[in-house]
Each structure stands twice: as C-alpha cells, then as structure tokens.
Amino acid sequence: MALLEVEDLRVSFPTDDGVVQAVRGVSFQVDRGETLGLVGESGSGKSVATQTITGLTRGADVHGRAVFDGRDLLQATASELREVRGPGIGMIFQDPLTSLHPAYRVGWQIEEMIRAHQAVSRAQSRRRAVEMLGLVGIPHAAERVDDYPHQFSGGMRQRVMIAMAMALDPSLLIADEPTTALDVTVQAQVLQVMQRLQSDFGTAIIMITHDLGVVAEMADRVAVMYAGRLMERAPRRDAFYRPHHPYTEGLFDSLPTRGGQRLTPIVGTPPSLIHPPSGCPFHPRCRYAFDACATDVPALEPVDGNPAHVSACWLSHDSSLRERLRRAMKAASSS
C-alpha cells in the first residue's frame, strides 16, 4: 500500500469576491522512499493541496480523502493531526527567511519540536538538534545551535528548516519550493543535503517546484497541476521525453535546452479560480484545442495503456499519433 494516497481532493476558500476553487479533484499517491515532483505555474494549487493534507489551510472547505499510513487525515481530529505533523510528515517551506521564529534560537526551535512528540530530556533533545544541524552541513553546529535565525544566511536557514523537518525521522517530507528563494549554487547544495538525508533515512519526498531542473535531479515521478487540477502524471523519463498533455509539453518547451533552441513560453495567463473555464481548464491557452475541449472535462487516461503515465487531455492517447501531431504543429508554427 502506498504511504500517502490522495483521492479526489477538493479545496475551496469562500472569499468576499466569490469562492476560490484552489484545488478541484486531485488524486495522486506517494510510495515509501520515492520522490514525487509536483510542478505547475504559480497559483495552480500546489501549496494549497499539500498543506491541506496536513490540515494547515485555515478557513478552507475540504473534500476528498488523504490516507497517510492507513489513516484519512482529512477526517482526523486536531490531536491526531498534531501527532502526524513532525513524526509522520515533515514540512519545509519556500521562504527560509520568514519560516523560522525570529525571537527563538534555532536549536530551541528544533528541540521544541522533538519534545512536543517524544518524552526525552532536555539534554537528549539538544543533542539531537546539534546532530541534525551537523547532518545538514552547518559548520560548528554545537556552537551555532544557540544562534538566532537572523545570524544565518538564507541557505543556512533553509538547512535549519530541513534539520527541523527531518529531526523526528518522518516517513514523508513535503518540500514546498525549498530552493526557490536561494542562489543557484546554494540551491544545489540544499538539494544535495536533501538527497543525502533521503537516502540515509529512507524518506519519501513530495518536491513542489517551478523548476524542472530540480525535477530532473530529484524526482522519480512527476505530477503536473494546472488551475487546481492534475493534468498529467508520469515517470520522470516519460514526462521529459514523451509529455502527453499540451500543458506539460509547454512547460518543457519553455526550458532552455543545450541545443540552443529558442524558448517558447506558454502564451496567455492562468485562469480565474473563481470562474474557472469550462471543459479542460487549459483550453483557452492550448494550441491544440478543438470543440470538445471547451465543453467536456477530460479524465486522466493512460498513455499507450501504461497506468503509470496518465494524462487528462482529449488528444489521442497513442503516443506515436501524439508525437506526429506535435511535429506537425511545430512545423506549422515555425514556417
């Protein structure tokens, strides 16, 4: 059985302007020890979907199931959720500068988490905090444990966050754009730290990112979100070499390639989540769109009959036909 199984997750926020449908029926699963890359444009609902799983979206209407370790977290009581947060699921957030409490020493912040879940002495939790800070590569961890967050650089703070999230050896780590706010060189270091801890601890990771480079480096499988829906789910190789959904194709086409091909960004803007488009949400921006796309919502169907690679699109699910169509479109647009 999968470690986490999310089924038909729907999340909406009632606001003064109307109901924001941030997540509209998303299903995916994560197995023990694997890394799922969750990608999509800003506002596609990646953070909302994953934070809802651990009950962190306040004031939201939530439907669906999120079974973690045999327990549906969406039905869990507040205290059951608290038991899962930390020892079950660790979380890292996008902005390391604001994610640590400015008034407390970093070591204390890690120790606080350990002591909230384990009956250990102060000395033991402190030793664990120092050990974790060392594991994520903070030099002189035994001294820096008593420093305040503002005494660390952004990259170092993100390492502290990783140390904290991993301190209780969770079976799942949700990393929400952990490197977006960092310099490129620091990004690589932070990713390395995560990979090392993952192989040491056997943690499963949901890696949320805009950056397909990160996906290429870390993910075993990729899930692509658009306007609150899952558009495509595929093993990494298929996502890169045989993307089926035009949105996935667009994402990878906007990647700079080594061959010096020109970038083709996806035209248009993300749709409103209060009044989402009918049919396939991507159809207003899709160069392959035809009549059915505007009226009917496509379901996730296997590509070439492979249940590991599914795509929600009305185009043919035969990948050779799909590839021919892609070539034709490319030829037409470049002439």
């Binding site: 934070q51 651990t54 962190l56 507040a78 959720l81 608290r82 038991e83 899962v84 947060r85 930390g86 020892p87 660790g90 979380m91 957030f93 902005d95 604001t98 994610s99 640590l100 409490h101 400015p102 008034a103 606080e112 988490m113 909230a116 879940h117 305040y148 503002h150 966050m161 904290m164 999230a165």
Partner: protein, 319 residues
C-alpha cells in the same frame, strides 16, 4: 546591554534635573503669596517679611535652587511650608497608595486588554470577537472621570442603598491590614483606570495578533505539531507583544494623569491628591518632591519597557 543601561540612566538623571529646574522656574514666575496665606488677612508687612525669611523665600532664586539641589542629593527634599513636615515623610506616606493603584491598574489593563485581543484574533468574526470589539469601543470613548463617577454611583451608592456594601465610598486601606480590605478599596479605582486603557490594548493586540498569525513562522509552528495554545501564546503572542510594549511605554506618562483624577474621585490620599493640594497651596517643596518622584518612576518604567523590548526581539539586543 550594560552600556545601554548606563546611557539610559544618565539620560534619565539629566531629564530629572531639567524637570526640577523647570518646576522651580515655573513656580517663581507666578507671584508667590505663601506668606500671605500663612499669615492671615490682617498681617503686617513685617510679619510677611519674617515668614518669607523663615521659609528662605527672600534669598535669590539661584541660591534657593542650589540649596534645594544639595539637600536633594543628600536625600533631603526639605519641609512643607505649612506644617513643617519633611517632604520625604509626606511622599513616603502617599507613595505606596499611588504605587498600588498604578501597578494594579497597569496589570489589569495589560492582562485584560491583551487577553481579549488574543481571543478576538484567534476567533475572528465570531460573536466573542464582535462583542469584545463593541465593548472596547464603548470604554475607549469614555473619559475616565465619567467611568469613575459612574462606578461610584452605581457600585457604591446604589448597591449600598439596596443593602449590599460591597465597596467603600473611597479612601485607602494599607496592605498591612490584609489583602481583602486593600483590594476592596482599590478595585473600583483600578477598574476606572484600567478599563479605558484596556480597550486600547484589546484593539491593538487584536490587530497585532492577526498580523502575526499570518506569518510563515506560525505555519511552521503548526507544521511542527505543536498544540494550539503553544502556537498562540509561545509563538504568536511573543511577536505580537512588541507593539503592545511600545504603546505601554507611551502610555506610562498618561497613567500619571489617570492616577491624579482617580485619586480625586475616590479620595485616595496618594501622590496625585497630595500634589493637587500642594499646588492649590503653592507648597513648593511638596510639589517639586512629588514631580521628581513621579518623573523618576516614569523614567525607570521606560527603561524597564526598553529592556522588555530587547528581550522580545533578539535583533535589537546588540545595539
């Protein structure tokens, strides 16, 4: 930290010195008729001159000030003009009353105001939030003398008439007579000062808490699996207190004014009431003594507030 304390103490002393000079000058700008009051209506000019001489009022101003300063540095604030009582004794009797009043009121208003603010902020738009907001607005726009007189009328006069003597009409019972009488005498004065200010603090801490609750590090605290209480008080309130402490530093001066009015209303023989009497009688040594004590208290309290500030936010600690 030490440097900070030394600098603050020195500036505090300087402020006190300036205040003492200012009071002295202000007093002598207005024509003095202490001697007339003392000597009675039929006094001869000779009697007046004699009294002025005995009180030292015939000496040049700078001389009087210098004498005052030298004595003050030795802990002697002089004698009052009318009963020749040492000013330190007068202040010594009045100070505990004012101190009890001010500290009690400040504690009530801080605890009540901040607690209500937290409750409002953690249950936004709830019935509790709305009723607390309305209540705050009512007290916020109420002058403290109206509140004090109202409390006296309803909670003393009406209650006593109906046979329930819960509160005394006024006056003071020292703590040595027991905590019960002391509290009973002070509870209405405390509330008079505290409720008006608590309203400000409810609004302030509600806004501040709502800000902080949206911070990323609060989400981190929740993601750590901490209990709701711990997240609210240890993590959110800790940060939300900073503007509250700032406001408290500003309000300390106003507290002095509130104390003067409240002591009048409830006939508490504290520093405020004593000062008002001394001013109507132009009793200079008493006025200066009380002004100096009050200023010292405000200066000290401000240093304490700054220390709190540094404690709350480690980023300001090194300056």
């Amino acid at each position: 930290m030490l440097r900070f304390l030394v600098v603050r103490t020195l500036t505090g002393l300087f402020v006190l010195w300036v205040i003492s000079v200012a009071v002295f000058v202000l007093f002598f700008v207005a024509p003095s008729n202490v001697a007339h009051t003392l000597a009675g209506r039929q006094a001869t000019p000779e009697t007046i001159a004699l009294i002025n001489h005995r009180l030292g009022l015939d000496r040049p101003l700078w001389r009087q000030y210098l004498d005052f300063l030298t004595n003050a540095l030795h802990g002697d604030l002089g004698y009052d003009y009318y009963h020749q009582q040492p000013v330190t004794t007068i202040i010594g009797q009045a100070f505990p009353i004012t101190f009890s009043l001010a500290i009690g009121a400040a504690i009530i208003w801080l605890v009540l105001g901040v607690y209500n603010g937290v409750v409002s902020a953690t249950h936004p738009r709830s019935l509790r939030d709305r009723s607390l907001t309305v209540t705050s607005l009512v007290f916020y726009s109420m002058p403290s003398f109206v509140l004090g007189l109202g409390a006296l009328y309803f909670l003393y006069y009406k209650l006593t008439l109906s046979g329930h003597t819960w509160f005394p009409a006024g006056g003071y019972a020292p703590l040595s007579e027991g905590i019960g009488p002391w509290t009973r005498h002070l509870i209405l004065p405390w509330l008079t000062i505290a409720l008006v200010s608590a309203a400000t603090y409810t609004r302030l801490s509600r806004a501040s808490m709502l800000d902080v609750l949206g911070e990323d590090y609060i989400r981190t605290a929740e993601a750590k699996g901490l209990g709701q209480r711990r997240v609210t008080y240890r993590h959110a309130l800790r940060s939300a207190l900073t503007p509250v402490v700032t406001q408290f530093g500003i309000d300390l001066g106003q507290l002095v004014g509130g104390v003067v009015i409240t002591e009048q209303i409830f006939s508490l023989p504290g520093l405020g009431k004593t000062a008002v009497n001394a001013i109507t009688q132009q009793d200079l040594p008493v006025i200066i003594g009380i002004v100096l004590v009050a200023s010292t208290a405000v200066v000290l309290a401000n240093i304490l507030v700054d220390l709190c500030y540094a404690f709350l936010d480690p980023r300001v600690r090194l300056t």
